[in-house]
C-alpha cells in the first residue's frame, strides 16, 4: 500500500492518493501527507481511486485529518470511491462529515 500526495501550485489544496488497502499500517504516511506541509492548505481531497478496501482504522485516520483541517469547518472531498468503499463510508454516516463523491 502506498500513500502519495500533491499540493496545488498556490499551496491551498492538497490531494492524497491511497493505493490498495487503506488501514492503520499507513497512518504515519497518511499524517505526513498533510502535517508536514510548509503552508497549511485550506482544501483537502482524498482520492480513493486506487483503494480496494478499507477498515475502521482508516475511518479513524480520516477523522484525524478532519480534526486537523478544522473539524466542523474542514473542507474535505473524498473522491473516486468504488462501490465497496462508498458503502462502508455511508454505513458509518461519513457523508455527514465529508463530501463523498
Amino acid at each position: 500500500m502506498a500513500i502519495t500526495s500533491t499540493v496545488s501550485a498556490d499551496g491551498n489544496q492538497v490531494t492524497i492518493y491511497i493505493q490498495g488497502r487503506f488501514d492503520f499500517s499507513s497512518h504515519q504516511e497518511f499524517r505526513n501527507a498533510y502535517e508536514k506541509l510548509t503552508k497549511a492548505p485550506s482544501r483537502f481531497r482524498v482520492d480513493l481511486q486506487g483503494t480496494s478496501y478499507l477498515d475502521s482504522s482508516a475511518l479513524g485516520m480520516l477523522l484525524l485529518l478532519r480534526d486537523h483541517a478544522g473539524g466542523e469547518r474542514a473542507d474535505i472531498d473524498i473522491v473516486n470511491c468504488s462501490q465497496d468503499v462508498k458503502k462502508i463510508l455511508l454505513i458509518s454516516n461519513f457523508e455527514q462529515l465529508f463530501s463523498i463523491q
Partner: protein, 569 residues
C-alpha cells in the same frame, strides 16, 4: 527484362525476299528468328517455340495474317505477345481489320532497320510491364484467396469458441453472417450452473481483423465465467477490464448482455452502446425497447465501470430480439438506411411470433434489394420458456439440479509466531471470493474480517485498549504499542472458522473468531448506536450493519457473525 536480352521473334511472310530481309535485320539485332511462309506455319511455330514477338504479313496463302493473329492471341492467353503487321496496306478498313484481329502495330515496306529496332525495343518494354502487372495480379489473386481461406479458418475457430455455449438451444435463434464476424460482431450464450442463460451480443468498433480479434478474449472470458456461475455484473466487469487492457484507445465493444432466469421468468439487461433490443410480449403484442444506458465495454477503467441492470418480468413465450447496427444501417439502392422504425413496423405487423425472426431478415434483405450487399447482419432471438421445456444437444439445462446446495466449513488458526509477519486477511479473502456468490461482496467481507481479526488480535491477544486512540497522538501511540507488543508476543492464538452454505435462492456465511484474550463485557455493547465521533470504536458497528447477526460468547473472547445474501438472479 533488359534491352540486351535476345528475344525469340517469329517472322511470317510468303514473299521470300521480304522475309529474307526481315530475318536478316532481326538476327543482326541479336534475336533468335523463326520463319514461316504462311499463317498455318506461323501458328504451328508459335505453339512450338513460344516466340516473344510476332511479325506477321497480312496477305498470305493457306491462312492469312488476320486469322493467324487471332489464333496466336488466343494461344497466348494472359501473356502479352505483341503482333506487328508487315504491310503496306493503306486503306483504313484494312488497318482496322489488322487491329481487330489482335495486331498491336504496323511495319510498312520498305523495311527500315532503325524503326524496326525501336519497335522491338518498345514492345519488349511493354511486355516487361505487362508481365509485372500479370505477376502482381496473380499475387493479388493469391493474397485474396489466402485471405478468404484465413477468414474461413478464423470463422471456424471463432465458431468453435462462440458455439461452445448454447446458441443452438431450443429457445434460441440467431443469424450471424460471416462478414459480420469480420466486422467485429460476436454472439455468445451460455448456461450458468443455476440454469440461467446468459447471452451477449457485441459489436467491436472498426473493421477486419482488428475488430474481430477482440471477440476471442471476450468469448473465452464469457464462457469461463458463465460456466462457473459468476453473476452478470462480474462477467461484464471482467470483460470490460480485459478489453480496456488489451484494446487500443478507440477500439471498444458495443454490447448488450442479458441474463435469463427461466424459473422466475425474469431477465436482467445491460446495454452499452448497441441499438435498442426489443422485448416482444406475445400476450398483448406490445414491444419494449431495451435501450443503451451505459458506455460500451472497454471504454471505462474498472473503477468507473457501471454494471447496473434493468429487470423485466416476462411471460412464457415472450421473445427478446437483439441486433447490431448492421441491420439498422443496411442501405437500399437509393442509399437510405433501414433504421429502427422499419424494425418496429415489422414487429407491429407481426401475426405469428414464431416467424418474426424470419420476417425481420426478409424485410431487411428485401429493403437492400439490389443495393450494396454488405451482408453484415447479426441478430439473435431468445424465447422465454419454462425450464423443463428447454433443450440443448450437448448441454442439458440444470433445472433438476439447481436446488443442490453448496456447503463447506473452514477452520483457520494464526499462531503467535506469525502475528507480526502474517496477514491472514488477503489470504482468507482470496479463498472466500473463489465462491462466485461471495465475489460481489468482497468489500464487505474484507471489512468484516478486518474488524473481527484486529479486535481479536489487538484487544484480545495483545490486550490493547481502544481508549488510547482518543487523540491524534493517542492514535499513533496505539499503533506504536501494537507494534511493540507484537514483537514481544510469544503465546496466544486467533481461531477463525467459516461455515458457507448456499442454494439457488441465496446463502449465508457464518464467521466465528475466537482469541486467547480475556474477553470483555459485551452486555454493555448491545443496542449502542454507531458512534460518529472519536477515532475508534466504530468497527463493530460497521460489522453489525453488514451482517445479519452478531453474537458474543463466553467471556467475550468469541464472536460469531452471520453474513447472508439473497440470490436475485
Amino acid at each position: 527484362m533488359n534491352d540486351l536480352r535476345s528475344l525469340k521473334i517469329l517472322v511470317a511472310d510468303d514473299t521470300d525476299t521480304d522475309r529474307l530481309i526481315l530475318e536478316t535485320i532481326v538476327r543482326k539485332e541479336g534475336h533468335q528468328v523463326f520463319s514461316a511462309k504462311n499463317g498455318l506455319e506461323a501458328v504451328a511455330i508459335f505453339q512450338q517455340e513460344h516466340p516473344d514477338i510476332v511479325l506477321l504479313d497480312a496477305l498470305m496463302p493457306e491462312m492469312d495474317g488476320f486469322d493467324a493473329a487471332r489464333q496466336i492471341k488466343n494461344l497466348a492467353g494472359d501473356e502479352l505477345v505483341p503482333i506487328i503487321f508487315l504491310t503496306s496496306l493503306q486503306d483504313t478498313d484494312s488497318l482496322v481489320h489488322c487491329l481487330d484481329a489482335g495486331g498491336d502495330d504496323f511495319l510498312s515496306k520498305p523495311y527500315n532497320r532503325v524503326i524496326l529496332k525501336a519497335k522491338i525495343k518498345s514492345f519488349n518494354r511493354m511486355r516487361g510491364l505487362h508481365n509485372t502487372m500479370i505477376t502482381q495480379r496473380d499475387q493479388l489473386a493469391q493474397h485474396h484467396q489466402r485471405l478468404l481461406q484465413e477468414q474461413a479458418v478464423a470463422k471456424q475457430v471463432f465458431d468453435n469458441v462462440a458455439h461452445s455455449g448454447c446458441l443452438n438451444a431450443s429457445n434460441v435463434r440467431y443469424f450471424l453472417s460471416s462478414l459480420a464476424v469480420f466486422n467485429g460482431d460476436v454472439v455468445v450464450a451460455g448456461i450458468r450452473p443455476n440454469g440461467n442463460m446468459m447471452v451477449l451480443l457485441g459489436d467491436f468498433t472498426g473493421h477486419g481483423l482488428p475488430a474481430a480479434i477482440g471477440a476471442m478474449p471476450l468469448a473465452s472470458t464469457f464462457y469461463g465465467m458463465v460456466n462457473k456461475g459468476f453473476s452478470m455484473s462480474d462477467v461484464l466487469c471482467e470483460i470490460n477490464k480485459k478489453l480496456k487492457t488489451i484494446l487500443p484507445i478507440g477500439l471498444f465493444c458495443c454490447a448488450t448482455m442479458i441474463d435469463f432466469n427461466f424459473r422466475r421468468k425474469r431477465i436482467k439487461v445491460w446495454n452499452g452502446g448497441l441499438p435498442a433490443g426489443m422485448i416482444y410480449r406475445h400476450l398483448d403484442r406490445s414491444v419494449i425497447p431495451l435501450r443503451s444506458t451505459h458506455l460500451p465495454l472497454g471504454v471505462l477503467p474498472e473503477k468507473s465501470f457501471k454494471d447496473d441492470v434493468q429487470l423485466y418480468d416476462l411471460d412464457e413465450g415472450d421473445r427478446i430480439f437483439m441486433w447490431s447496427d448492421g441491420i439498422h444501417e443496411a442501405r437500399n439502392p437509393a442509399g437510405d438506411m433501414y433504421g429502427e422504425e422499419r424494425l418496429l413496423e415489422v414487429l407491429a405487423q407481426a401475426n405469428e411470433p414464431a416467424i418474426i425472426f424470419d420476417e425481420i431478415l426478409t424485410s431487411v434483405k428485401n429493403f437492400i434489394g439490389s443495393g450494396e450487399q454488405d451482408d453484415d447482419l447479426s441478430m439473435i432471438e431468445i424465447r422465454m420458456d419454462a425450464p423443463e421445456h428447454l433443450q440443448h444437444p450437448n448441454h442439458y439445462f440444470v433445472h433438476q439440479q439447481q436446488q443442490l446446495p453448496v456447503e463447506w466449513e473452514l477452520r483457520f488458526e494464526v499462531k503467535p509466531t506469525s502475528f507480526k509477519s502474517f496477514d491472514p486477511l488477503s489470504f482468507l479473502l482470496n479463498i472466500l471470493t473463489e465462491e462466485p456468490d461471495l465475489r460481489s461482496f468482497s468489500g464487505s467481507l474484507y471489512t468484516i474480517l478486518a474488524e473481527l481479526y484486529s479486535n481479536a488480535l489487538e484487544h484480545g491477544v495483545l490486550g490493547l485498549s481502544g481508549d488510547i486512540k482518543k487523540s491524534p497522538e493517542g492514535f499513533a501511540e496505539y499503533y506504536a504499542q501494537r507494534e511493540k507488543l507484537l514483537n514481544e508476543i510469544a503465546t496466544g492464538f486467533v481461531h477463525i472458522y467459516f461455515a458457507y452454505s448456499s442454494n439457488i435462492d441465496g446463502g449465508s456465511l457464518t464467521l466465528r473468531v475466537e482469541d486467547s484474550g480475556a474477553g470483555f463485557d459485551y452486555s454493555a455493547l448491545q443496542g449502542k448506536p454507531l458512534s460518529t465521533i472519536g477515532y475508534s470504536g466504530r468497527g463493530i458497528g460497521i460489522v453489525e450493519k453488514l451482517c445479519k447477526t452478531v453474537r458474543y460468547y463466553g467471556s467475550g473472547n468469541k464472536v460469531e457473525v452471520v453474513f447472508a445474501w439473497v440470490n436475485d438472479d
